[in-house]
C-alpha cells in the first residue's frame, strides 16, 4: 500500500477517531458533551459567599464612635478575602447622616469552612451625635442604615445601591 495513503488514513483517524468516540460515548445525551454541569456550579456559587450575622457591638468612644461586630462564616472550600469595606451610616428613624464607617480589620481572610469576626467602625459626625443623644439615648433597638456601601472581595469591587439595616443597637442612657 502507498505510504501516502497510510499517512492520510492516520491523519483522518487522528481527527475523526476521538470525535467519533465522543459522540458514541455520549450518544444518549449529546448536549452533555458540550455543556458543563450548570447545577453543580450554581450549588457551589451559593456556598461561595460567606453568611453574615450580627454578633455584637462595642463603644469605642462614647462621644464619637462605636464598632459593630459581624460574624462571617465561609462555607466554601476556598479561602475568602475581604479587602475593603466603606459605607455611610444613617439613623433609620430620622434619616440623619450619622457618620462614615469602614471595615477595620481588613484585609480579612476567612479560611474554608470557618468563621471570623468582621469589625465595622462607625465614626459619628456632630449631627449624628446630636441625633443619637437627643432621640436615642437609652434605646435598646436603635437601627442604623448603611448606604453607599462599597466592598472589595476577592479583588472584585461591589457597590451596593440597596440599603442595609444594622441593629438592634443598645444606646447607653
Amino acid at each position: 500500500m502507498d505510504i501516502g495513503k497510510i499517512l492520510a488514513a492516520i491523519s483522518i483517524m487522528i481527527v475523526v477517531g476521538p470525535l467519533a468516540s465522543a459522540v458514541i460515548l455520549y450518544r444518549d445525551n449529546v448536549i452533555a458533551l458540550i455543556m458543563p454541569d450548570v447545577e453543580d456550579i450554581m450549588e457551589k456559587f451559593e456556598e461561595y459567599f460567606p453568611t453574615v450575622e450580627y454578633a455584637d457591638y462595642e463603644i469605642v468612644d462614647p462621644e464619637t464612635s462605636f464598632r459593630v461586630l459581624l460574624n462571617m462564616t465561609n462555607n466554601s472550600d476556598d479561602t475568602f478575602t475581604f479587602d475593603i469595606m466603606n459605607f455611610s451610616a444613617y439613623c433609620k428613624e430620622h434619616n440623619t447622616f450619622l457618620g462614615y464607617g469602614y471595615g477595620e480589620n481588613l484585609p480579612l481572610t476567612i479560611q474554608p469552612k470557618s468563621s471570623d469576626i468582621f469589625k465595622l467602625l462607625i465614626t459619628f459626625t456632630q449631627g449624628g451625635q446630636t441625633d443619637v443623644e437627643t432621640f436615642h439615648r437609652g434605646e435598646t433597638d436603635f437601627y442604623v442604615i448603611l448606604r453607599e456601601v462599597t466592598i472589595v472581595v476577592q479583588g472584585i469591587t461591589v457597590e451596593v445601591a440597596d440599603e442595609m439595616d444594622i441593629g438592634p443597637i443598645e444606646i447607653p442612657a
Binding site: A22, I34, I41, G155
Partner: protein, 214 residues
C-alpha cells in the same frame, strides 16, 4: 548519516513539538490563561489541555477533552514524522512524511488563535463583557441594586510562543526542503530503459568445467 542531508528546521520542529507534548503531559501547561478577580475564576487553555474553574468548581466540557486528545495525537504524529523525515529527507517515503507532518502544528496553532479571537468577539457582542486577548481590563456588571467591577487579566504564556515557533519551524522545514534539499539532491525521474529484445536463446555448448562438475 550525511549532515548536509539533515533538514535542521524539521529536526528543530520535532524537538519543539516533543517539548510541547511533554509540557502538556507533565504540567498541562496552558498557552493562554485568564483570571477573574483574585482566583474567582480561572481558565487555562491550549489545544492540548483545558482547565477552567469558577469559584473553585471545575468547569468540565467533555468535548474539549476529546479535541485535546485529537490535538495531542496530531502533535505526537507530527513530532515522530518530522524526526524520521529530517534525518533522512532523501528516502522514498520522506516527502510523504514531510507533507504529513508540516501542516499539523500550523493548522492547530492558527485554529487556536482564531478560536480565541472568535470566542472573545462572541462573548463581547452577546454578553457585553469585553475579554481582552492580552492584558487587563475590568468588567462592569449590574444586577439589581448591586454593581460589580470585575478585573480580568489574560496573557499568552511562553508555551504559546513555543507553539508559534513550532508552527514557524514546520513551515521553514517545508521551505528548506523545497529550496535547499531538493535542488541539492535532485531526484532524477526514473527513466525506463527500452526493453532489450531478447534474442532467441541459443544453446551454448557446455563448457568443460560444467561438464566436469556433472
Amino acid at each position: 548519516m550525511n549532515i548536509k542531508l539533515v533538514n535542521w528546521p524539521g529536526l528543530a520542529c520535532a524537538v519543539t513539538a516533543t517539548t510541547l507534548i511533554l509540557l502538556s503531559f507533565l504540567y498541562a501547561s496552558p498557552w493562554w490563561q485568564a483570571e477573574v478577580g483574585d482566583d474567582v475564576a480561572r481558565a487555562n487553555l491550549s489545544p492540548l489541555d483545558y482547565n477552567a474553574d469558577l469559584i473553585g468548581t471545575s468547569i468540565e466540557i467533555p468535548i474539549l477533552w476529546f479535541i485535546n486528545l485529537s490535538c495531542k495525537l496530531a502533535f505526537i504524529a507530527c513530532a515522530v514524522a518530522f524526526f524520521v523525515y529530517s534525518l533522512a529527507p532523501r528516502k522514498s517515503y520522506s516527502k510523504n512524511l514531510l507533507n504529513f507532518a508540516y501542516k499539523k502544528p500550523i493548522i492547530i496553532f492558527i485554529l487556536f488563535v482564531v478560536m480565541l479571537v472568535v470566542a472573545s468577539y462572541i462573548i463581547g457582542n452577546f454578553t457585553g463583557i469585553g475579554v481582552p486577548l492580552y492584558g487587563a481590563s475590568a468588567l462592569s456588571m449590574s444586577v439589581g441594586g448591586v454593581t460589580a467591577n470585575i478585573p480580568i487579566s489574560t496573557s499568552f504564556t511562553w508555551v504559546f510562543w513555543l507553539a508559534a515557533a513550532t508552527a514557524v519551524l514546520a513551515l521553514v522545514a517545508k521551505i528548506y526542503d523545497w529550496k535547499v534539499i531538493s535542488p541539492a539532491f535532485p531526484t532524477t525521474p526514473s527513466i525506463q530503459e527500452p526493453r532489450e529484445t531478447k534474442a532467441p536463446e541459443t544453446k551454448k555448448p557446455e563448457t568443460k568445467k560444467s561438464s566436469a562438475k556433472k
